[in-house]
Symmetry: C2
Subunit: 465 residues, 2 copies
């Protein structure tokens, strides 16, 4: 492959040096050490400390106008920086998030979640892939330019969010407040996955979501199961029966009207998925599962990316400690969440859900449904010069073209940026399907990490030309 | 009512003195302060300390041959004492247990669970009714005799168990080892309830039980619900679906063969229950519930006492903390338990359960069923001289005859004593239906407590004559 003219001056030699690479891993280890779990109030200070660390680091690598921007409505802060000394060149907004998911079940971690641990060519830690590792790819691409030539080939703005993992609840207020500051010609987000170690992809569709809590209660307080067992409806049994009625026996969500606005895949899209994307057996092998599950008539990959879903995220109630407790619990709690696809609207799904929950609540049981957050699904246009620059950067680095595909995940920012800023957004991520993000033993594949830096270096140059 | 001759020399004046009563409540407060939760390993020392406290107390009230008997197989100790200086008189074994249920959910307690708190005429604490308060009734009846006349009207053995609330797992070994020591002509157990504040009852039937843990698992570890939602079977959903299939839509246990050995109530028994026992509306009013639940064709009281039941005691899995976690959990756990009636056998029910669990486990889910304990149901003969003595003591104290009824609870000791020692057992308890045993804010009604002492004083005299 003949490198394009733009790449001849790239700072690749710098990013290939092993002394930089080992220094970067030390820095990433510092970043990972902050337990920035945005869902847990006790980690508020850790998040603030981490934002301050990032602000210092952005200054160290040569960025300017560093700011820790407070979250609206008491939310977690964002970190902003820029480098705007390339007049006439486009401005690229780089997005990442430095908050992480909770770490439980802690006992399943083989290494401490906030102590980056390298085993072979993997770095294990919460946030290693989602998204501290990936945002670090952006920072190190920038550093490679600024430490070698002292300049970047284009204008850069960088925005690191602190509450992505709780659904970016204050994003809309933040975007309204900071719209001018964040204005750019294009956005690069690295918070997604490749299809495999040598199969880069650009995501053009994301599922939306809707997070719910369902609390059911029966008697005023716990009852003795010897005394009352068999005569009162147990809230945990009722909750189980209600959960069982959220799906039909074909694996479809049983809420009336739920599929009303789902845009069906076109035959060409299904053909593309069949050719390029993970196959049934490969997905099951990766998961070590004997069988898949879900909506009949769609492949596993289609179910994961282009079909809506309802997932029970947690159930709690009664006594599950050592030994036995003779109790009929007075209440039970379930967390569940939807993944939505175009053109489903979270608010509309919530309106369909409420009467269904009421209808499946048994007579002597009270249920309370709480909607804790939601985000729309999004489909991004794929024809733009920045997208073509990303394709070329990938081709140069990986010697293959990226697969354009949809992801099952949700990045509320993307849908909102798409709607508010109306600029092209490139979702070019460097996670791998087996990174175990959101799970114990999350990891980042280091060769992919370094190649990601190389890709972003090339992408900046390609987009600048 | 004319008192029988035997009651003329009773130490009732002593037990009516307010200075004794306030001293006894102080002592009970000390007993309650030991957090003797037998289910939790961290309370092992508290249980030992409590046993030692009881041993000292038994000596103080004048009992002899005090022993703290180690539990077989590392189980919690029992406390033994006797007074055998009434030659020619029958020997009565008094049984109680000093261990208690766990206290969670702790935040629902209005007073600290191990600090006895008197509000009005109720004493609130874990164990206030089940069974520290009730065993104290026996001790104070004995004390009333020994502190006044220096002797008892009959021979007494007392046995206080330390692992009743975990199903007396070592009872059989204990009874084999201590059979000679515990030999008696009759047994008095006060670990049951009256039908109401002025409605004493003698229990002649107890349900058995079978405690189970069901663990289901899917993928090796938690998965991201964005990535995989809709394509893999969620263990929590599978667990809910399985729980929903443990009952049919008529409220009957859906395990094939489950009702095979259930002895149906005879028409006369059903008539007795209709006349004497708690009515449908009264039960619902007590529970503040709009409707009952369960097996069609049986009254609520019948379902509570004479029909078998399956109760979900707890469910845990995934994330239910603050905020939301985008997770498909890798496993879920449910604790559930059966109440069994004559002639159901716990071992046989376990054998019926296993294939049913296997049959309702979905294809991509693994399930593991663990049986953690079980006890047979029992029906006690009601025609014996000791039973008649109990009836007379109740009549003298309460001015009504006791109702002979069945209880929904399980006291493994009773069934085993019945089988091993083959002596009459009197289940004369002084709990009330709204004592909230096993629940937050457990309490003992103090007027009932003191009347219980009077009843046991009279019972000893009546049985001795």
């Amino acid at each position: 492959m003949v490198p394009s003219l733009a790449t001849t001056a790239l700072p690749l030699h710098y990013c290939f040096q092993s002394k930089q690479r080992s220094r970067w891993l030390s820095q990433l280890t510092e970043l990972i050490a902050f337990p920035t779990i945005s869902a847990l109030p006790q980690h508020r200070k850790d998040i603030t400390f981490c934002a301050q660390w990032l602000a210092r680091h952005l200054a160290e690598i040569g960025l300017q106008h560093i700011q820790v921007l407070p979250g609206p409505k008491g939310g977690h802060p964002s970190v902003y920086a820029d480098w705007l000394q390339a007049p006439g060149k486009p401005t690229l907004l780089l997005y990442g998030h430095y908050d992480v998911q909770p770490v439980d079940p802690l006992k399943e971690w083989r290494t401490p979640p906030f102590k980056a641990t390298i085993i072979g060519d993997k770095l294990f830690a919460r946030g290693a892939s989602d998204d501290k590792g990936q945002l670090f790819i952006h920072l190190k691409a920038i550093e490679s330019y600024l430490r070698t030539s002292g300049s970047l080939p284009l204008n850069i703005k960088i925005w690191l969010e602190g509450e992505e993992e709780i659904g970016s609840p204050n994003l809309s207020a933040f975007l309204n407040r900071e719209a001018k500051q964040l204005q750019a010609d294009a956005v690069l987000v690295s918070d997604t996955e490749m299809l495999g170690p040598n199969r880069p992809s650009i995501i053009y569709g994301l599922r939306g979501n809707l997070n719910c809590e369902l609390e059911v209660s029966g008697s005023r307080h716990d009852l003795h199961s010897g005394r009352y067992g068999g005569a009162v409806h147990n809230p945990l049994q009722a909750l189980s029966e209600m959960i069982a009625r959220l799906h039909d026996h074909k694996g479809r969500v049983a809420i009336p009207g739920f599929y009303g606005r789902v845009r069906e895949l076109e035959p060409a899209q299904r053909q593309e998925i069949r050719c390029s994307c993970a196959r049934h057996q490969q997905i099951l092998t990766d998961l070590d599962l004997p069988a898949g599950w879900g909506e009949a008539g769609y492949s596993l990959f289609e179910r994961m990316t282009s079909r809506p879903a309802l997932t029970i995220n947690g159930i709690a109630g009664g006594y599950t400690g050592p030994g036995a407790k003779s109790v009929i619990p007075s209440r039970g709690l379930a967390h569940f969440s939807f993944r939505l696809v175009p053109d489903q609207e979270p608010t509309e799904i919530a309106q369909l859900l409420r009467p269904h929950i009421a209808a499946i609540t048994p007579p002597a049981i009270r249920s309370r449904l709480k909607i804790t957050g939601g985000s729309r699904p999004v489909l991004l246009p794929i024809r733009s010069s920045v997208m073509q620059a990303a394709v070329r950067a990938v081709q140069q680095t990986w010697a293959v073209s990226p697969v354009f595909t949809r992801s099952g995940g949700t990045i509320p920012l993307v849908e909102q940026l798409h709607r508010h800023l109306r600029v092209p957004i490139v979702l070019l991520g460097f996670g791998l399907p087996n990174d175990d993000i959101h799970a114990p033993n999350e990891k980042m594949n280091l060769p992919t990490f370094f190649r990601g830096i190389e890709t972003v270096i090339r992408f900046m140059a390609e987009y600048a030309t």
